[in-house]
């Protein structure tokens, strides 16, 4: 019994030393680098500047042909659930013209097997899965993305 306890204590000490030591080493030579720079994990950081949704506009440019168009207006508090789909109150085929909104595309009536349906396909029901509004936020990581030439 005593021996087992001793073993346990040694093991615990070893884990502490190895774990604690390597953690300290990493923080020191900067192997772990968070997006907020050299700030200890539990340290306080300057709060990011709050960003706002872009004001309403008439459609935003697309970057590639198959891209779901970005949402050019605010959608705060628009609910999409079993009972209601706020987007469709303006974008459905029956409502779009009157509301001067873009009709949802024909592709939205096709299910994954290519069958044409009479109403929006369940796989297209949750609009914000694909269509997102924009903020004027700088990318956290630089990238070299370019729109395709065809656009």
């Amino acid at each position: 019994m005593k021996k087992r306890l001793q073993w346990f204590l040694w093991a615990a000490l070893a884990v502490l030393l190895i774990g604690g030591g390597s953690g300290m080493a990493m923080a020191e030579n900067g192997e772990v680098r968070g997006l907020r720079g050299q700030v200890p994990l539990n340290g306080a950081d300057q709060a990011a500047e709050p960003s706002r949704w872009m004001p309403d506009s008439h459609g935003l440019p697309r970057n590639f042909l198959q891209q779901p168009p970005l949402v050019p207006h605010q959608i705060d508090n628009y609910k999409i659930d079993m009972r209601q789909n706020k987007c469709l109150t303006c974008h459905s085929w029956s409502k779009a013209r009157e509301n001067r909104a873009t009709k949802i595309s024909l592709t939205h009536f096709r299910n994954r097997f290519g069958t044409e349906l009479s109403d929006v396909s369940p796989q297209r029901y949750f609009c914000t899965q694909c269509h997102v509004p924009q903020k004027d936020a700088k990318p956290l990581v630089d990238n070299t993305f370019k729109p395709v030439d065809a656009m």
């Binding site: 004001p55 309403d56 506009s57 008439h58 207006h73 605010q74 705060d76 508090n77 609910k79 079993m82 009972r83 209601q84 109150t89 409502k95 009157e98 509301n99 001067r100």
Partner: protein, 186 residues
């Protein structure tokens, strides 16, 4: 009794009535005011568990200007004569509370469409009076609204639409089972 003292006591009686009147009026007013607070509304769990929770996630609870619209702001008229009528109707809620018509989430869901339609009907007939207590379209600077707000408001008001035609669900989740006839926006 001399004529003079009779006159005097009459005055006293009158004054007494006057004082009582003030007291009653004060008490009445106090009762009206006390029942015109959010705390009162949500003292019933029927109000607190469903509609209040949803309202707390909307713009009328929390917004950039820090002005809050509470339950009575939207549901109880400000103008005296309309308020009294609403208060009398509201005593109906007490009766339903007593009967437990919506005392479980299931019963509430079951009755929600009916309740919502009542509210829509009232707002439609008053040209959304309670909304207009705070928002007046005559004071709206359309050019500073979003593109869609601007466009919809100009067209909507010229067609004689009222706020509730387009802003259903502004403070709570919409009920299940709405039909095309419930959408009065165009």
């Amino acid at each position: 009794m001399s004529a003079e003292s009779l006159l005097g006591s009459r005055w006293k009686i009158l004054a007494g009535f006057f004082m009582l009147g003030i007291l009653f009026w004060g008490g009445f007013h106090w009762a009206l005011a006390a029942t015109n607070t959010e705390t009162f509304c949500i003292s019933c769990h029927e109000m607190k568990e469903n509609v209040y929770k949803e309202y707390r996630e909307t713009v009328h609870y929390y917004n950039p200007s820090g002005v809050r619209a509470t339950c009575p702001d939207c549901h109880v008229p400000k103008q005296w004569q309309h308020m009294i009528v609403r208060k009398i109707q509201a005593s109906n809620e007490l009766w339903h509370k007593f009967r437990g018509t919506i005392d479980t989430p299931e019963k509430f869901e079951g009755k929600r469409l009916e309740l919502a339609r009542n509210v829509w009907y009232t707002m439609k007939t008053t040209d959304s009076r309670e909304c207009r207590n705070c928002h007046d379209y005559k004071s709206m600077d359309f050019t500073r609204q979003g593109l869609r707000a601007n466009d919809f408001h100009e067209r909507g008001f010229s067609k004689g639409k009222t706020c509730i035609d387009c802003h259903k669900g502004i403070a709570h989740a919409l009920p299940k089972g709405m039909t095309a006839a419930d959408d009065t926006s165009n």
